[in-house]
């Protein structure tokens, strides 16, 4: 089996988090817009005073702009009051100030959101008005075509040909172990393409408009009925099209390169895109141990030693698709665990683990009783099957069902009904030997008890393994969903639909070698394999991540180039992109959670040769340094808000490990929306920069 665990440092955004994300965006972008409005208002008033004109707008759109400006100013002023109230302990005001927890917005948070949104609307109004009423797609398209022709005729596209060097020579450096081969090939492609496309995108985006201004070609355009922002959009769209076509061609060739070079064994295991359904990970009998690894991604459960409590890793699945219960084939759960050995154990042997798949509504005691009943019945009815094995399979099954009705007068008939419904919908199972018959009986018992316990599994370190669960378990869970909605548990959360319990087997036979071992688990280490999609689709979806990245670069470079020179624009774009890679670090600095403190503390540590993870002794100097660092935090917060989240678009992990990149949650919610949210302010900035730029001013 090939190791195929999806290890993500940051989970993709969930739909439930979208409102919070939108609030955050409105607040951050709105604050920037408000600052811009203050500067603009002062300038506007001064300019009109100098020219002895009334600063009041005369058009309808101008008045709407003024309305939003007023609302925003009023709300921000009130927010300022609430913050002041918090400082001087006026309770009524302090209660309305914004809270720190974005998950639980206060009135102040909402006011902040509305103030930001109003400022954004005020800033965006003229842009929207122009886009809707003044701009013409025909002109934008003409400018986009011009950009395309320019790039093609200046032979910029030849740069894409450099990828052939990768195709020619990458094999020299790619290890040929089948289990790593696909990952390595994918890594080669995903590492080679970004420099090629990002450099091209940044150069095209940064230098085109400044070159037009310098050569004065732009004079022949802006003296036509062209809105200046149409030039920005035209350039942006033109280059985006060029890069998209280039990327599509190179991606197609790259896919061919990956596919033709792959080992058949690797192809069999890796050429897929798993569609996983993840549960939430919790623990029972432990809080999840640390084994001292620097990266605390996984937590560990241990085997049961004498007298100790059994430790479980528990995955809770909130909701599962109802179609699972209608399947004829078993439903696979895949897992990849890390084994941390406390003793040598047995050579070439894994750690034996027990898995339990069970109705999520059950509490601990109910679970135990159901499991015991399941185990007993499995033995009892399988014995019966063995006894009746001479008879036709259908008759044996009927006998078992009759017996269950007798043994369980209340639940039995319902289980039989469900089994019949399942056979009718999913088709009759092929029962041509005793083993298959016993399996069918076991599946029937799953419908009776709502629990499935497979045989003990030998888990190997960092290997992807699978357990097949009868679809009857999901039919049972579906029937419960229909009959009675899930209630909230004792902690106030909605109970999960299903739980998977995993523990290290501690039977007498394995205790000696198993008990001392530790099993490392993370949330994404176990998942329900809902479907498998073709690898090529996933590969191309991963390329979309790269597409988002170069659109991001173009989206920064083109608006900046409306004001800055080509070189400065390129440097700024590259700086933002580079700093965006380290955005999480800047976030930690802005929140003051970085180990070692802020810049001032860091300087102090350098001069005093103090280890960065150690606490500094409290003293007036340290207090002062921390206060200065608090000011830096504010600066870092501003920097953080303008840095692009570059890592978000790196989808290589999905492709390399064979996990499907979901259209909805990953590509749309986690990539596309943030990209639009990030580029929108840049485009608005570009609109104002070029609109108020004197195209012919030599300064």
């Amino acid at each position: 089996m090939v190791f195929a665990a999806l290890t993500l440092e940051r989970e993709p955004m969930k739909w439930a988090e979208l409102p919070m994300a939108l609030r955050g965006w409105a607040q951050t972008a709105g604050l920037v817009a408000a600052l811009a409005l203050i500067i603009w208002t002062i300038n506007w008033v001064v300019q009109n005073r100098m020219r002895h004109r009334s600063p009041m707008p005369r058009t309808a759109s101008g008045r709407i702009f003024l309305l939003f400006l007023g609302i925003s100013a009023g709300l921000f002023a009130f927010l300022g009051l609430t913050l002041l109230g918090r400082q001087i302990n006026i309770r009524a005001l302090a209660e309305m100030s914004p809270g720190a927890d974005p998950m639980r917005p206060t009135i102040g948070n909402w006011l902040f959101t509305f103030a930001g949104a109003a400022a954004l609307l005020a800033v965006a109004m003229p842009v929207l008005y122009d886009v809707v009423f003044r701009m013409r797609w025909g002109r934008i398209w003409a400018l986009a075509r011009l950009s395309l022709k320019e790039a093609i005729r200046s032979r910029v596209v030849l740069i894409f040909g450099l990828i052939t060097l990768v195709f020619l020579f990458a094999d020299w450096f790619v290890p040929y172990k089948p289990e790593d081969q696909l990952r390595n090939y994918v890594a080669v492609i995903y590492l080679s393409l970004p420099p090629l496309f990002l450099v091209t995108a940044s150069l095209l985006g940064a230098f085109s408009i400044p070159a037009d201004i310098r050569s004065q070609s732009i004079h022949t355009i802006v003296t036509k009925p062209v809105e200046k922002f149409e030039i920005v959009l035209g350039r942006f769209i033109g280059y985006a099209i060029l890069m998209t076509v280039g990327l599509a061609v190179v991606a197609g060739l790259s896919l061919g390169y990956v596919v033709r070079g792959i080992h058949p064994d690797a192809a069999k295991e890796s050429f897929k895109a798993r569609v996983p359904i993840y549960g939430e990970l919790g623990f029972d009998g432990t809080r999840g141990e640390s084994v001292g690894r620097v990266w605390g991604y996984r937590k560990y459960i241990g085997g049961r030693s004498a007298g100790a409590k059994e430790q479980y890793a528990v995955w809770s699945f909130e909701d599962l698709p109802s179609e699972l219960g209608r399947r004829a084939q078993p439903v696979a759960f895949e897992f990849t665990f890390d084994i941390y050995r406390m003793t040598k154990g047995q050579e070439d042997r894994g750690v034996f683990c027990d898995f339990l798949f069970i109705d999520g509504r059950l509490d601990r005691d109910e679970m135990q009783s159901r499991l015991s009943a399941f185990r007993e019945d499995r033995k009892k009815y399988q014995d019966l099957v063995t006894k009746l094995s001479a008879q036709p399979a259908a008759e044996v099954l009927t006998r078992v069902e009759e017996q269950v009705k007798v043994d369980y007068p209340r639940e039995g008939p319902e289980a039989v009904k469900l089994a019949q419904a399942h056979r009718a919908e999913a088709g009759e199972a092929k029962l041509d030997n005793l083993r298959s018959l016993r399996q069918e009986v076991e599946s029937f018992l799953v419908l009776l008890h709502g629990v499935y316990e497979p045989a003990t599994v030998e888990v190997k370190d960092y290997h992807t393994q699978a357990i097949e669960v009868p679809p009857q378990l999901f039919r049972y869970l579906n029937s419960l969903e229909t009959a009675k909605p899930r209630e909230e548990g004792t902690q106030g959360f909605r109970l999960p639909m299903m739980r998977v319990w995993v523990n290290i087997n501690s039977s007498d036979a394995t205790r000696a070698t198993n008990a001392p071992q530790m099993l490392g688990v993370a949330r994404a280490d176990l998942y329900l394999l809902a479907a498998e999609k073709p690898f090529w689709q996933n590969f191309l979806k991963g390329i979309l991540g790269l597409w988002f990245t170069f659109v991001l670069v173009l989206g920064i470079a083109v608006p900046l180039s409306t004001y800055l020179s080509g070189v400065i624009t390129w440097l700024c774009t590259m700086f933002l992109f580079g700093a965006g890679i380290a955005r999480d670090f800047v976030k930690r600095l802005s929140e003051g959670t970085h180990e070692g403190g802020g810049p001032m503390q860091s300087i102090y540590r350098i001069f005093n040769q103090t280890f960065h993870s150690g606490q500094l002794d409290e003293s007036p100097t340290i207090t002062t340094l921390k206060d200065v660092d608090a000011v830096y935090q504010f600066v870092f917060r501003l920097v953080y808000s303008i840095l692009p989240d570059v890592n978000r678009y790196d989808l290589q992990e999905y492709v390399a490990n064979g996990f499907d990149i979901a259209w909805g949650r990953v590509l749309f919610l986690d990539c596309f929306l943030p990209l639009v949210g990030y580029l929108l302010p840049w485009m608005i900035l570009g609109y104002y920069l070029i609109k108020y730029r004197e195209i012919a001013n030599p300064n």
């Binding site: 011009l146 004065q216 022949t220 802006v222 009925p225 062209v226």
Partner: protein, 319 residues
């Protein structure tokens, strides 16, 4: 000219400032101008006098520091006015990777032109500016004159009411210059208003109806060319059918003395160098390999040749 004001500037002022807002140069000072429909209006002045700045302010390429620039009654910053304007920059800053056809197609697309109209108009303009044979060549391969021609074509792609030309004859040879001047006059005759600025005074003198002379950003003179150039203290008389000799001169002096005047110069009028050049080129084209003869000498030569021809003919008859 029907007196309708197409372009108007009111106290138009432009001051260039540096990044910090400090004043660097006053490019234009309180310029008041009116350009009427159907006239050729010339802006004259030395380098740095504010001609190009005025044009750029009218086109919205620069923003006024003070005052107003109105084109068709709308502020110069109004993009919609550009539907009715054609602009030829000082140098033809067109995209050199495009050919003539593509250039006109591109600029045509920036207007609300029906594709068919756009194609027809582009074809006609290429023909008008004499680039039909070179329409598939990219502009990078064009000479400066050719680029100026295609530049003019792009300025006319929207059949504008107002054509603004910045140094339209710059870089053109005398033939091209004449062609350009003729075209400008044609455009005026079609009812278009032309604003042009030029260093070449003779061009302005030849074709402009009115001129404004600027120096160091200030308007020095404004009026019709004739009105500005006319010296009312002097008189010019042109006569034909008589030979200039002492008797005639004496008679003229006598007449003028009677009215209190005197002759300051009397002689034969000269043509312009441009006219002479054009005649030479035209004759050279008509009779390749033959050296140019001035008109008078050509007449004598023709008479001689005629006589020689007649003599030869009579000899032949005799034979």
């Amino acid at each position: 000219m029907n007196g309708e004001v197409v372009v108007e500037t009111r106290k138009l002022t432009k001051i260039y400032r540096d990044f910090w807002g400090r004043q660097k140069k006053i490019a234009l000072r309180a310029l008041n101008l009116q350009v009427n429909r159907g006239e050729i209006f010339g802006l004259l002045g030395p380098n740095g006098s504010g001609k190009t700045t005025t044009i750029k302010l009218l086109l919205g390429l620069l923003f006024p520091t003070d005052g107003d620039a109105l084109v068709f009654g709308k502020p110069a910053a109004d993009v919609a006015k550009n539907e009715r304007i054609g602009y030829l920059p000082e140098e033809s800053y067109l995209y050199r990777f495009l050919n003539a056809e593509e250039t006109l197609d591109f600029y045509g697309r920036l207007f609300k032109l029906d594709p068919k109209v756009r194609r027809e108009r582009a074809e006609k303009l290429i023909d008008t500016v004499g680039l039909s044979r070179d329409k598939k060549r990219i502009l990078k391969e064009y000479s400066k004159g050719m680029r100026q021609r295609i530049g003019l074509a792009q300025a006319l792609i929207n059949d504008p009411e107002l054509v603004i030309l910045d140094e339209p004859t710059s870089g053109l040879d005398p033939l091209g210059t004449r062609w350009m001047k003729d075209l400008i006059v044609q455009l005026r005759d079609q009812g278009k208003t032309i604003i042009m600025c030029s260093h070449r005074l003779e061009d302005v003198q030849d074709i402009c109806d009115r001129v404004a002379i600027l120096n160091e950003g200030e308007l020095q003179e404004l009026g019709t060319v004739r009105g500005l150039l006319e010296d009312v203290q002097k008189m010019e008389l042109q006569a034909s059918g008589v030979q200039l000799n002492d008797a005639l001169r004496a008679d003229l002096e006598q007449v003028l003395a009677k009215h209190g005047g005197k002759i300051e110069f009397i002689g034969h009028p000269t043509t312009t160098l441009e006219d002479l050049f054009l005649r030479i080129v035209a004759q050279s084209k008509a009779h390749p390999g033959k050296r140019y003869l001035p008109e008078r000498m050509a007449k004598d030569a023709a008479v001689t040749a005629e006589k020689a021809g007649a003599a030869e003919k009579s000899t032949n008859i005799k034979k």
